[in-house]
């Protein structure tokens, strides 16, 4: 195949709930080139689902705005960044605590960030109130197979 070992894609979409499934399928389709296990695909899909749902529910309060996902594959590392320009998070450390949620009335479990942490190898959240949030995640995928030969 190609004589390189990086590959990048970006998707941008309206913050409709029906696009949550689109977003996770798109990321899963992009990562197939790494020969991921079913488990790894499920992990990525869950993490993307969490971050996108948060953008829809928390960042934009269910108003229709744009959500962007950037995916980059470098050798066997999958980097995923989910970006919104919504209301931002005043205290990221507190937000990331398991069971912490500001929308219990919507039956949010407060486990979104906990799941992203559990299913990805690394996560960094950059947020500024009024400006928006970027969730950077990384996961090693398809080890033991060589995708770019």
């Amino acid at each position: 195949m190609e004589k390189t070992n990086t590959n990048e894609m970006m998707i941008e979409f309206d913050s409709y709930t029906c696009n949550e499934a689109f977003a996770r399928v798109a990321v899963a389709a992009f990562c197939t080139q790494l020969n991921p296990t079913l488990e790894e695909v499920a992990d990525l899909k869950t993490a993307v689902s969490e971050a996108v749902t948060n953008a829809i529910i928390h960042a934009y309060d269910e108003k229709v705005e744009k959500i962007r996902i950037i995916c980059k594959i470098v050798a066997h590392d999958m980097y995923i960044t989910v970006i919104d320009h919504g209301k931002g998070i005043p205290d990221v450390d507190k937000a990331m605590e398991p069971l912490y949620t500001t929308k219990p009335q919507l039956e949010r479990s407060g486990m979104g960030f906990a799941f992203m942490e559990a299913f990805m190898d690394e996560i960094t959240v950059v947020s500024e109130p009024g400006k928006g949030t970027q969730v950077h995640m990384k996961k090693r995928v398809g080890i033991g197979t060589s995708p770019f030969v």
């Binding site: 689902s49 749902t53 479990s109 407060g110 486990m111 799941f115």
Partner: protein, 101 residues
């Protein structure tokens, strides 16, 4: 279309969809709550046999139903959860309040 909720005696059986995400969790919540209005239900049983995907929205929905049922003196049970779903249920801690299998 097959019904999502089926009442048998005072138990309510709920067939969880293939992908239990935010959209599907909202829909399940509405369906179950509607059933609870009219009928005497002691136990809501979520059947995960078809489910291959779940995120934290599903956890929120289960916890919410557990709270509803507890108020009425009932409870919630999860059956036929596959390996991945079980792992997610464990991770979330819901197994502390909800019976699994």
């Amino acid at each position: 279309m097959k019904e999502i909720c089926e009442k048998r005696g005072n138990k309510l059986y709920v067939t969880v969809p293939i992908e239990l995400d935010h959209v599907e969790a909202d829909q399940l919540r509405q369906e179950v709550e509607r059933m609870l209005v009219d009928a005497v239900i002691r136990e809501v049983i979520f059947d995960f046999r078809n489910t291959v995907f779940m995120d934290s929205s599903g956890i929120g929905m289960l916890m919410g139903r557990q709270r509803s049922m507890q108020q009425m003196g009932g409870c919630v049970r999860v059956i036929h959860a596959g390996e991945r779903i079980q792992r997610i249920l464990e991770l979330s801690g819901v197994y502390k309040v909800i019976t699994i299998n």
